[in-house]
Amino acid sequence: MKLELQGITKRFGSLVANDNIDLVVNPGEVHCLLGENGAGKSTLMNVLYGLYEPTDGQILVDGKPVTFRGPGDAMAVGIGMVHQHFMLIPVFTVAENVALGDEHTKAGGILDLDKTRARIREISDRYGFDVDPDALVEDLPVGVQQRVEIIKALVRKAEVLILDEPTAVLTPQETDELIQIIEELKAGGTAIVFISHKLREVKAVSDVITVIRRGAVVGTVEPSASTSDLASMMVGRQVSLSLNKAPATPGDTTFVVRNLTVPGSGGQNLLDNVSFEIAKGEILAVAGVQGNGQTELTEAILGLHPHASGSVQLKGKELLGMKVKDIIREGVGFVPEDRKIDGLVGSFSIAENMILNWYNEPPFAKGFAMKPSVVLKNAQEKVAEFDVRTQSAEAPVSTLSGGNQQKVVLARELSRPLNLFIASQPTRGVDVGSIEFLHKRIVAERDAGTPVMIVSTELDEISELADRIAVLHGGELMGVVPGDTSRDVLGLMMAGMTAEEALRQDASAVEERNRAAGGHRAAGAHRVTGEEDR
């Protein structure tokens, strides 16, 4: 099936999410859509999948124009989609999830799941998915849930499969497995639309790359294009990929974590016996695939996990067991990983958000009484200092863009005297311009002599900021390595190897590669983490 998008435009009010986009997807081809967060990739795919009606333009299937009134229409012509956030019902079984919307029934509308089960087994066997049709989805690991999503599309005979940021939640190995699956689907004639903002994996899997910026197509390139070219196309200007930070000058070690453990509800520890320390004037970056204990680590340090055990000492004082409020008073600054949920109160004004965890301290309050004028003045100063783009400091913070919201959080946390600064995913969903600004502020805080801990799932960010790197896997610390450690080693550690094992394995792999000296892509193509850095 050949799929064409011609002049697709999608407006939301005055916002143009997609501007006159043309795209051709051929059978048996992996077509990558590359673009920053918010560039309009997902909107375009939602148009293609019938979730949005385009404001203008048309979709052609095998040369014939089609209109989709809903996902049902899109599925009917053979378009399947695996959403970034899986569209699975946790309390349903795999079979029920797959059947939903395309059910086999017996007389009287009674469900016949046996046929669905058979189809699932058939597909599962063919691609080696190893999925049990009767397992509850909520009990399955993320990688398997993704396969269930792919099965959903294949059961509906999808000839074009859209994968929206499919690797965001996968370990490097799971990513490799996914790429294998993509290769097999491709060999079977399925067209794949692969949406991502990660340059390396895009280069590894795609046959064609279309770059999107601010809702418009910037160009279509071969995967052999250089990473830096792709990056500048994506961002729209020459980006300095490195931060030019001065080497760290570590001082006293004031922050010490020992045997930190957070129990989970299923008997398994979400964070298991983690120990490390950070010196003043040093950035420790915590790397790992999402969901490997990073959230628990930061939350436990901040006192948000009542069942955490072990020891967390700041300047010799034990933080574990203290209330969140008291830990904040000890000078711990914290940027949570999801600002909209944990960092900001959307309906509160910028001014109120600027003092969200400092509202009852002087000069903002005296006793129970707050001082609105002081609060406002503080906010106006911070808005200017951090270049928050807003009409007024009294505007609700929800009216700001993601980057500006993140600046509000950072401004709040950095405007107190700190003894420890923790930032989790400090630049997630933030435009490139703001990323540079935020990174500079974080490094400035380090240079001011504060121990800094960064948690990120983006290796780019880790490499850019880290003086040392700690890698978490399955709640365990795989080791702490220097900031310039290679991606290969980090990838192996993120997959569950200790630092020593990873270094050994990497050394032998390099050796082997040198021996083979083939130089052809195939060997490295499936190994995203093995790709050369920019």
Partner: protein
């Protein structure tokens, strides 16, 4: 990342490794049994009459020595509590049959005790059970309405209003037409009308569902009250003297002791109730419709991406729920009493809501929960006849207290549909 989009309040019930609620609940209940049923057990013999003299088949009465039963029950309950404690301490789950056995034993112990302390310690078991079912009928219809709405993610606080509007419409339509069956149909329509407002405001205008529900109850109460004191009171012969629905007795089967009357000697509303429970259960858990309905209530976005029209599904289900509750409301004016009086549902809609939660959003669970509440209400009447010292107000409170314990998680864990109360808006 978990795909479960359930919202639990932060800081509430964090990731604790062991849940001690059940053992604590069991323990408290066992202590009550020990002190009240056993130590405070009367020396009397509690007699439960299984058959009446007029019955075709007669079975012997059950006579239980109250203090002996009290001790047996107390010891058994303590044993179950200890078992639960040990299971939880060992990090294991509690067998659900232990919970059921516990509940049955507790009820037996309580009944024996409460009958034993009465002036005339003898009650008709058949009458008690039959009365409970009768009282539970509107509750069950109300709960089923709640199940239908909440399963698609619309919280239905307006059950009370649906029942009341049904009762009103049934009375008026049956009176005017002179036909009780016309009343039944009108009742369902009235319920749909209330649901229509709920659906339009909560689905189209995205008004908070709880607010709409609460306000709708006030509106229906005001509207029916207003019409009752104008139209109905002015000409009650025309508007407010509905013909009743006859009891349909199935010969022989109705003669089976205890279960005969409750299953085979009912008004048509009663038979419909059984049918509705079964049909809705099968519908929800065994059909394509039910799969889609539950998907919409759990994860509307996922349902949408599979081509299911979320808001349309919600809309029709809410209307269907209204029809069911409205139909049940007809019970008040066509079966229970023979005219409409203002606010005659007297908060039963809220008890139905409680039964729905107690029954864990499951039609059969709601059925048994409603039966329990009907039982508590009926017991109050029965006990006042045989003369007991237990203040009737405390018995009246019982369903409400049990419900609070249930939602607090002391009686089992309940998990509402994940998307309940959240309007669905495509981004």
């Amino acid at each position: 990342m978990s795909i479960a989009a359930t919202v639990t309040d932060p800081g509430v019930a964090g990731p604790s490794t062991r849940n001690w609620k059940a053992p604590i609940g069991f323990g408290v209940g066992a202590l009550i049994a020990l002190f009240v049923f056993a130590i405070g057990g009367p020396a009397a013999t509690a007699v439960f009459r299984v058959s009446d003299d007029s019955d075709r088949f007669r079975l012997a009465d059950i006579a239980l020595p109250a203090n002996v039963v009290g001790w047996v029950v107390a010891v058994a309950l303590i044993a179950i509590a200890v078992y639960a404690f040990l299971q939880v301490r060992g990090g294991r789950g509690i067998n659900r049959w232990a919970g059921i056995a516990y509940a049955v034993l507790f009820v037996v112990g309580f009944l024996t005790w409460v009958v034993g302390i009465a002036d005339r310690p003898s009650i008709s078991l058949a009458g008690l059970v039959a009365g409970s079912v009768t009282l539970a009928i509107p509750l069950i219809f109300g709960s089923l309405s709640g199940v239908l709405c909440e399963r698609v993610g619309v919280v239905n606080i307006a059950i009370e209003g649906q029942l009341l509007s049904g009762a009103f419409a049934a009375a008026v339509a049956a009176s005017v037409s002179g036909n009780a069956y016309v009343g039944l149909i009108a009742a369902a329509f009235a319920g749909v009308l209330v649901s229509l407002v709920l659906a339009i405001f909560s689905i189209k205008y995205l008004v908070n569902q709880i607010i709409v529900g609460v306000v709708l109850n006030v509106l229906v109460s005001g509207l029916t009250g207003f019409l009752a004191s104008t139209l109905l009171s002015r000409d009650s012969a025309t508007f407010n003297s509905p013909p009743g629905l006859p009891e349909v007795r199935i010969p022989l089967l109705a003669d089976i002791p205890i279960i005969g009357p409750i299953l085979f000697q009912q008004s048509i509303v009663g038979y419909f109730m059984y049918a509705a429970v079964i049909v809705i259960w099968i519908g929800l858990y065994r059909t394509k419709w039910g799969l889609r309905v539950r998907a919409v209530g759990e994860h509307p976005q996922a349902a949408d991406t599979m081509g299911i029209k979320v808001n349309a599904t919600r809309f029709w289900n809410v209307l269907l729920g209204g029809a069911v509750a409205g139909f049940g409301g007809a019970f008040f004016t066509l079966v229970s009493v023979s005219s409409f009086t203002r606010d005659m549902t007297a908060g039963q809609g809220y008890i139905a809501l409680a039964a729905l939660i107690f029954g864990r959003w499951n039609p059969i669970g709601a059925f048994f929960a409603a039966l329990l509440f009907g039982f508590a209400t009926n017991l109050r009447f029965v006990l006042s006849i045989i003369g007991t010292d237990v203040p009737s107000q405390f018995l009246a409170m019982l369903p409400y207290i049990v419900t609070i314990l249930a939602v607090a998680g002391l009686v089992g864990r309940s998990r509402p549909p994940a998307a309940g109360g959240i309007p669905y808006v495509k981004e």
